[in-house]
Symmetry: C2
Subunit: 405 residues, 2 copies
């Protein structure tokens, strides 16, 4: 498995691009519509938000890839097209426009929107944008595409890997956006994966689900599960590897690379959470079960008090214990050990569920780094899990106190 | 039912007080130990945090009031006496010291601590403090007692009411502290209630539980369920009313006043949440069931994004819909109506699950008030519930980014 310096256009046959069309009215320099296109039809799979309030694009995408096939993604930022009476109609219109411009059928389009909830989506700029964008999508358009789906993200998030399957080089690329309203349940924020692997739809769906559960679904920025979360993957088979149509070594290899790329994107999303100054990674080991390990890791990285302490570089481990303690489930607390580490070193703060003396200056030095690792050893079993979050900062409040106006 | 201008010493036979003893080392002006004392033995009841990591004082109090009786409360602030290897021993010592000073038995003491988790509780200042405080507790000491249990609270929270039961005047008083780590589950933050009512322990426990479920347990400041939450009530019978020993009109009247006083304290705790600039009340009506109404109301007031929007006086109602949507349970969203109101008026923002046009200037004017009411009409049943929270502000981050050091 090798990392390559690219994104969604790394796999053979994929083109992408992004432009400003005017959904974002406040800044003409900000791109707001993206297209990802495959020269050949793809098997396709997706996972979606579990929020009962969900965006119109999710209704339409779900319907469009029911046949397991897709060939392009169209996504706007600046407006979520959610909680609008005419939302589904507008999402369908986006598919028709993209299909016309790309010479595809509307049912081959994955459509997504991100931005403010509950404001009517203006279709005119999207119509103009798609018409302008479709002719200029290219192998080099990956970065433009990522930039066009950013909202309060400060960094574009993309990634690509290369593996060998059955003697053929297979590439997989991804782009994602995160930032706020990030606390996925089953599916997550927006993530679009592309690959030139040959793989059937059922195996593709299975691979995506396996990867997302341990990666995107283990990220939380603010505990708010968005209405528009979606991660999709399209596989066009142009790598000409033996088709992956069942479990086995090739499938495992494929899952491993999807998981790797999703882990990387998940960490980028957490570290670039709204207002975040640092990535906080929490690993739970020795748990009785994997679901409990996951629940505890997520509880810790979701705790507002722990997040604020991380911002202040304060080794207030009592808040970590508190967040462990209110996790639902059956476990003991008197065996728990907590260590906090970063590139500056590691420090033991809690043993057998109680505090131990530690060097506060050393702790401060460790916590001033921009990636912090909280290690929780439960000593009650063999299960483990990792979750990713960020600190809670003044800027989170600033961004969200006045995001819409 | 009549409100009176007092607190825990309003009922006959109760004395209280608070002094600085030195648990809070950083500010000698801040009181940090409180005593509430009844001249006669009391029936007593309490509810506790459901966090699996819980303070040593909870272990000891639970044991002490197992017989349904108590006569005094001793509570320190500045240190939670939680996650300490010697915690139970120290909590027992506090009971012994208070019992000696008040000429009671250690088993008659309700003990509580609030403050930092995981730092060893220094017993010397507490010993000195109890010795100094016990001789000076008085009918006028209620405010000193409340001040002594405050941590990051900015306002002392106390309340008293008077009712008539069987021709006798019965009084009930309360004091509480809240601020951060406030997201109770079953029990809550610290609340101490006193009454001169004559009531048996089982009926007292039942009344407290009924009141707390709809009041303290419907408050959230930050989604963090504390390790030390406790609400207790002591009834000394000095009002000489016919003993309340079963359900009926007198019990209902007693429950009503306990609920009234707990509601009032809950709103004070929410409005004075860490860093809060405003109280946010969320009422859900027309829900299929009461648990679902409660869950939705709590989901909305707990949402970081909604809280930040309230801080910014931004009528970003899509975040309210989002928080409704990720509440667990079975319900439809397409019938939901949302109104936002304050003393400046009321505005409809969402109907049938979709946005409606509204006057942004009017919305701003409404949201700039310091108490905001979010009304969610589900139109799917007859159940309703109310929850209380606050906005998410720079000061919350400031307080919690550097609370311990």
């Amino acid at each position: 498995m090798q990392k390559i310096n690219s994104g969604v256009t790394a796999p053979k046959g994929f083109l992408a691009g992004g432009v400003h069309c005017g959904v974002k009215t406040n800044n003409t320099a900000k791109k707001d519509i993206a297209i990802i296109y495959s020269e050949k039809p793809c098997t396709a799979a997706a996972v979606y938000t579990q929020n009962k309030v969900f965006g119109a694009p999710i209704t339409v995408t779900r319907r469009n890839i029911a046949d397991g096939m897709a060939q392009a993604v169209v996504c706007n930022s600046g407006n979520a097209n959610t909680c609008n009476a005419d939302g589904v109609e507008k999402a369908e219109k986006m598919c028709i426009l993209a299909a016309e411009a790309l010479h595809l059928k509307p049912e081959d389009i994955i459509v997504a929107s991100t931005g403010v909830i509950g404001q009517v989506l203006p279709i005119e700029p999207i119509e103009k944008g798609i018409a302008a964008l479709a002719p200029i999508i290219s192998r080099e358009g990956n970065l433009d595409a990522v930039q066009a789906i950013m909202t309060t993200d400060t960094k574009p998030k993309e990634e690509a890997y290369e593996i060998e399957i059955g003697g053929k080089t297979v590439k997989i690329g991804a782009m994602a956006k995160g930032s706020g309203m990030i606390h996925p349940n089953m599916a997550t924020m927006l993530g679009f994966l592309t690959t030139d692997a040959a793989i059937t739809t059922p195996m593709l769906q299975k691979a995506l689900k396996l990867a997302v559960d341990d990666t995107f679904n283990m990220v939380s920025v603010d505990g708010d599960t968005s209405t528009n979360d979606m991660v999709s993957i399209m596989a066009n088979g142009m790598a000409e590897n033996p088709v992956i149509d069942k479990e086995g070594a090739n499938f495992d290899l494929f899952v491993a690379v999807v998981k790797e790329i999703c882990t990387s994107m998940a960490k980028k999303i957490a570290g670039d959470g709204e207002g975040a100054t640092k990535l906080v990674e929490c690993t739970v080991t020795g748990a009785p079960t994997i679901p409990l390990a996951k629940a505890i890791a997520k509880s810790v990285i979701t705790s507002s008090l722990t997040k604020a302490a991380m911002f202040g570089a304060d080794a207030n481990w009592g808040r970590i214990l508190c967040a462990i303690g209110y996790t639902e489930g059956d476990f003991a607390v008197d065996t728990i050990q907590v260590d906090i580490s970063s590139p500056k070193g590691s420090i033991l703060v809690c043993e057998n569920g109680a505090g131990v003396a530690f060097d506060e200056d050393k702790a401060k030095e460790i916590l001033l780094e921009d990636a912090i690792h909280i290690e929780i050893a439960m000593k009650q079993g063999d299960a483990s899990a990792t979750a990713w979050g960020c600190d809670l900062t003044y800027d989170y409040v600033k961004i969200n106190g006045d995001y819409r106006t």
